[in-house]
């Protein structure tokens, strides 16, 4: 095995020139030695000091937007406008946490017990160093300085990032920004650690290291579940916050007006195909009624979807997996499909809508599973009873969307049903475009995420990385 690896340019369909050197096991061990003392120092700082650190990271990133953009584009194949969106979102997340910290300078609540003059101060403290595994599909917003890292810093935790190998260059520049901010504020060495590896060896080593106290992961079910299981074998098991696959069901009710149908069809087509559908919240399953209204809606959806142009996927391996899964599903008995037919130049994702009916869907495990890419499965349902059964057979999901008109008396009932299955319910809109805010919940029942009680987006995501200690003393009055 050579010591280096390269990233891939999906747009040019070639490997990039830069060679990235894998961090050696020995180097990792050297870096980990700094952790206990760095964690101890960082924990002693005030909440406002953490806000300052986030502010400095923000500034440092801004200075290097140009070079980050260059790497981002050539390592992801994503568009310039997508870069702008993700860049803004990444910076906004940092600001959101910075502001949250400034407005909550003490993570402590106090209680008194008058009967015996006892004071109890309950403080939220960092759980300790967090390992963040960069995602493939958000080279910025869910990677080196993404939501997990920023939430962990805000909670008072050291962070070890293992960069996603597909965007090692982007990650290295971002890591340099974080390190610059740390040095500017004279914060301890070891507060942030950046690691490069194109295999799973170092991630496993880190998952088992007793100094690591929690893990943030965004990726496949297989990868997430393996980490969860590995973390349970430790002497002291730790939480793994894994956000895994989701088909994000969409329900189309019978009573959409023609205008509403057109609106929904356009929104959905874009949500499925945009950026090659490489979003954890991409609508991958659409329940459409049988009968005239459903057929007219389907025609509109197919029409709108045909206007989406295929774009390169993130990496040849992702493209290969996509095509395999896509073909698996459209080859099943009882499945029709509407597939983009134009010629492809490289690793573009071939936009595909598959179509089946509920009775077939209910029998198929393969149709219940995510196809990561510009693909969605339409399932026609006969009546409310069949729709209800369809929803009940789903496993845990990140989101569930509901499109309804003015005559849907039972909307509350569908919402009620969805709360058992999903972490976010979207009414008359598409699930993509996750807003970073305090009331966002980005998570869902297993297997969508490892723990339905926690969100990966928004300020509450900090709660994953905090533990509590109560200090009890005689009330000094």
């Amino acid at each position: 095995m050579s010591v280096g690896f390269r990233t891939f340019n999906p747009t040019l369909n070639t490997w990039n020139d830069e060679v990235y050197v894998r961090t050696s096991e020995n180097e990792v061990n050297q870096k980990l030695k700094l952790l206990p003392s760095a964690q101890d120092s960082y924990r002693r700082l005030s909440v406002l000091n953490r806000a300052d650190y986030l502010h400095a990271i923000h500034r440092s990133l801004q200075k290097r937007m140009g070079i980050i953009k260059d790497f981002y584009l050539k390592e992801s194949g994503l568009s310039e406008s997508r870069f702008e969106t993700e860049w803004k979102r990444t910076l906004d997340t940092i600001i959101l946490f910075e502001q949250y910290l400034r407005s909550h300078p003490s993570f402590e609540k106090k209680g008194y017990l008058p009967t015996d003059s006892i004071q109890m101060r309950k403080a939220a403290l960092p759980i300790g160093p967090i390992l963040v595994l960069g995602s493939s599909n958000f080279p910025l917003a869910y990677s080196t300085v993404g939501g997990d890292t920023v939430a962990a810093f805000a909670a008072g935790c050291c962070v070890i990032v293992k960069a996603h190998p597909m965007h090692a260059g982007t990650s290295s520049v971002v890591a340099a920004c974080i390190e610059e901010a740390r040095k500017t504020l004279n914060l301890p060495e070891g507060l942030f650690t950046h690691i490069l590896d194109d295999g799973i060896g170092l991630a496993q080593q880190l998952c088992l290291d007793e100094r690591i106290q929690g893990i943030g992961f965004t990726g496949s079910f297989k990868g997430g579940k393996a980490l969860m299981d590995l973390a349970q074998t430790r002497k002291n098991p730790i939480p793994v916050f894994a956000e895994m696959g989701s088909v994000n069901p969409v329900i189309i009710l019978q009573d959409l007006s023609t205008d509403q149908q057109q609106h929904a069809a356009k929104k959905l087509a874009f949500s499925i195909g945009n950026d090659a559908g490489q979003f954890c919240t991409k609508p991958g399953l659409i329940f459409i009624p049988k009968g005239e209204m459903g057929s007219s809606f389907l025609t509109l959806l197919i029409q709108a979807f045909s206007e989406i142009s295929p774009v390169p996927m993130l990496h040849p391996r992702i493209h290969e997996n996509f095509d395999k899964r896509r073909i698996d599903v459209i080859s099943l008995k009882g499945v029709q499909h509407h597939t983009h037919q134009g010629a492809l130049n490289g690793i573009e994702g071939r936009c595909t809508l598959a179509e089946t009916e509920m009775s077939i869907f209910l029998q198929s495990q393969s149709m219940h599973e995510e196809v990561f890419g510009p693909f969605s499965l339409i399932v026609r349902y006969e009546n409310s009873e069949e729709l209800r059964t369809g929803i009940q057979t789903l496993s845990g999901q990140l989101t569930g969307s509901l499109f309804y008109g003015n005559h849907s008396g039972l909307v509350d009932e569908w919402i009620h049903l969805l709360t058992d299955k999903v972490g976010r319910i979207v009414l008359n809109d598409v699930p993509t475009g996750v807003r970073v805010m305090e009331t966002m919940h980005h998570g869902g029942p297993f297997p969508a995420s490892s723990d339905a009680r926690f969100t990966a987006v928004g300020t509450d995501s900090m709660l994953r990385f905090q533990k509590y200690v109560t200090i009890q003393q005689q009330n000094i009055t």
Copy 2:
């Protein structure tokens, strides 16, 4: 195997007359069939309805105090005054949650995003049916209607209690009270399920049942860890909130005045020996300085402890385990001991203080582990450095206590050190006597509990049993 089992009267050292019939696997399956619809109905009720339910349980319990007390005394061997305390605590917990629900009628927070008129309502919902495994040492407060059950009901969850077999009678009467309250309010059958078993078979079956969504457990490390591991093998893993063993270190600093020494010695002696030391927060490890002050404190402690009378333990098996562990430790090389020498009539716990020095303690795994009963290990330390090392070798603990005088400049430093190891820090007081209040944290880093982020006592304990769902819609202005 016979179908029935009996409970034991520790005071009389005989088995009680009543025979309790094990719930059969078939009966359990019948009861579980009611769960999905009961959970669905209960979830639809308002938060105030849940408060009404708790209120009705409270009333129903009060009506049956006499019979509950009779069973409690004859199944636990605990004293009347202990019954009074635990009874009050149990009722107070119900009231605390009832009041909390009435003052928080909506578990929802709202956020708006002006840029695209999006409203996000984030609601806390019940995670689903909770299995509660009654503890051996709190027949009321951590059992059938204990903290876990009440928190789960408050969170909107159905509850399945597997009674601790040692107090099957107490549990059955309490279960009847809960059922009476349910019927009075016409709440769904299956909201509460009571199960009797003197083996581990049914607990394992329930842990693996996909309808169960979370587990509350108070008991041994072995039992808790086995449940955690088993729950991870499910298709959909669930959280196990296990509160396991703890030695609850106490640190005596050098500068206690003579008055303070007397006060601390009395408090500690009582805390170790009261109710045969059968508390999860019993101080089982006391760090005392070498030299004159430490020796004089130790003399006071031994004196105060000699005045504690041995009382029956909860059960012959607990007594047997206690004596085995107690003798294990006092037989180790380098350990002296001060053991109550009077004659015993039955299963009284023989009050014992063991004593060693830090260098020996650091080498011994056995000394680091809990001895459940009226026992504490005194470890003499040379200086601050040795004390620091001693604390650092500890595993996760529920509590850590610190006794200090007016000249201890470094109190904050000891507190800082303890926050890594414990869930509650007690200043100049003993850890027993857990207060039920909003700012209590009863938990601690693994292995004291399964998850340092959650408390088993106080209103925050509800957070264990809630998940979140965000509902996203266009803001209707």
